[in-house]
Symmetry: C2
Subunit: 328 residues, 2 copies
């Protein structure tokens, strides 16, 4: 049997722990080391006995790591870490600032190519598996429309936005798709829907004693971009209830493409996911794509790729022959 | 703009007409010619003005066709036509005898490689898009189970099997999945289900006057492999009703993978399709993969590939850069 792929994790938050749990379920890889900007002795990994090292010493591990999973955030971490670590490692990341992906891809690609490394950027569910489904189904049903629905599930970005309002001590925001609109789309609708028709937002909020709840609810509902385009409900709850009832990170989502061939033959396709842990799924996708980075590197196929550039056989634990025999 | 991909269709049945309708919706390809073993002047194509030629003269079109779509059947046509036409053309086919795919792949690959052509075999929905989903989701959620449900929809193979019974003048068989079992799986079940629990079969049958209906119903229900493992219902209807009510070819299907990370974090993923025309979808998938065969050939990447070997960017009408910018 081939030796296990030696994985490094750079940055140790929720997605990193998701990746760690996925690696533990994969018989062809092994977590070699975790790198952190915090003090390494404050980190307790889920995997017993794994090395925890300071991020600044990462290049010392160049020959011990086959693929590095970059688990930092897209706002400030990855734009710097991606191109830098691509000089020394094969990398996988979850860069998700959609509008800047082409620019980021080019920056990582330049370093990967000139240092003979392989990189896979922007994996996860969106960008990621959802992008793949949209591209695939649009290619197969060119005369049609894509629809995406999110939730029911927690949005970290929206929860954070509420927490920044004065007087708020805690907040969890659920994005909830409209059942009626989803059912119309599942039944072949090709209509356009507004943002407001497709989703509503439900916010559980805890506040300081004596805080003006009307003002806070109003601030949430009027917040541009995050809430003003949606029907938003604000529910005030005590802090301990928020902690107890709303601390999980479940999420769900669906992408659909409805299409037509000939004059009136209708096709409806749907990909849906639903999970207890959003970062758990993202980490699992990263682990699968570590195989692709490892294989591309072994083949001398250097540079940065996206999920749209990678055959599925490259992310499977199985050999191509075995996969074709068992799956096709 | 690049010139259109010139497509040939070899064999002109339902799937071929599905491919033809898909080509008509694709601005980057053009149907160049249809090849038939019947007399060419008996064929009326959907596309006005397209050349219809005798199958035996196909090699005369070597330089006029970029990609040939092989629309014959898997039982006797493709095992012979695939390797033969792969000598002269880039091909796409729907070979679907699951157990023999590795052998067929090798036979086509040998001819494609030595004649510097590109081939894409076994596309459609199963084998095809469903295989891709199973391989992808199994790679991402290694600790889990796959489930597949078919229908409600018409199965040609099962309908044909009934028609071979003495006294039967017509038959249409619907495969119907169990709602209860599907809902259990959609809610994260990791149980095993029997064939009988997952699907039932409903057969609309017309018979000769005076035929023994009890004997025929019994013959259907006891037929090994096709019906004996299922709860099968046989409904006798007049021939004209069968023609009027059951001549469409709608179908539907779902593949699901439920998985676990850590000790108890659950993930449910589902890909579903539902369509008015089964061969319409198969033909649409073939047309999309014609782009891959064309591009592989242009890059000098010869040989036979499956859907598991092909990045999604190769089947899109868009350039890679445009696809990444717009989809990721």
């Amino acid at each position: 049997m081939a030796r296990r792929i030696r994985i490094g994790i750079y940055g140790y938050g929720n997605v990193a722990r998701g990746a760690e749990r996925a690696i533990a379920k994969s018989s062809d890889m092994r977590l070699e080391a975790v790198f952190t900007r915090r003090s390494p002795d404050t980190i307790r990994t889920l995997t017993p006995g794994v090395t925890v090292a300071a991020a600044e010493n990462v290049t010392e591990y160049k020959d011990k790591i086959d693929v590095m999973l970059l688990c930092g955030g897209s706002a400030t971490d990855l734009p710097e870490q991606g191109p830098e670590l691509a000089k020394h490692f094969n990398i996988v990341d979850t860069y998700d600032t959609h509008a800047k992906i082409p620019e980021y891809l080019e920056a990582v690609n330049a370093q990967s190519v000139s240092n003979k490394k392989a990189a896979v950027i922007s994996v996860g569910w969106d960008p990621g598996v959802f992008s793949l489904m949209k591209a695939m189904l649009s290619s197969m049903l060119p005369d049609g429309k894509n629809y995406a629905f999110w939730g029911p599930g927690v949005s970290q970005g929206h929860s954070d936005a509420i927490r920044r309002i004065d007087g708020v001590t805690g907040a969890v925001q659920y994005t909830v798709p409209s059942d009626d609109v989803m059912n119309e789309v599942r039944n072949g609708s090709l209509k356009d829907y507004t943002v407001r028709q497709k989703h509503k937002r439900i916010c559980y909020v805890s506040v300081k004693e004596g805080a003006d709840k009307d003002r806070i609810a109003d601030s949430v509902k009027r917040m541009p971009y995050y809430f003003s385009d949606y029907d938003t409900e604000v529910i005030f709850v005590p802090g301990d209830e928020l902690e107890k009832e709303h601390s999980g990170m479940p999420h769900a989502g669906s992408v659909l493409r409805n299409g037509i061939t000939g004059s009136d033959e209708k096709y409806t396709t749907e990909f849906s996911i639903k999970f207890d842990s959003n970062p758990g799924f993202t980490g699992s996708v990263m682990a699968a794509f570590a195989r692709a980075a490892f294989r591309f590197h072994a083949e001398g196929n250097f540079g940065a790729k996206t999920i749209l550039d990678i055959p599925v056989s490259y992310i499977s634990e199985k050999s191509r022959d075995q996969l074709i025999k068992e799956t096709l």
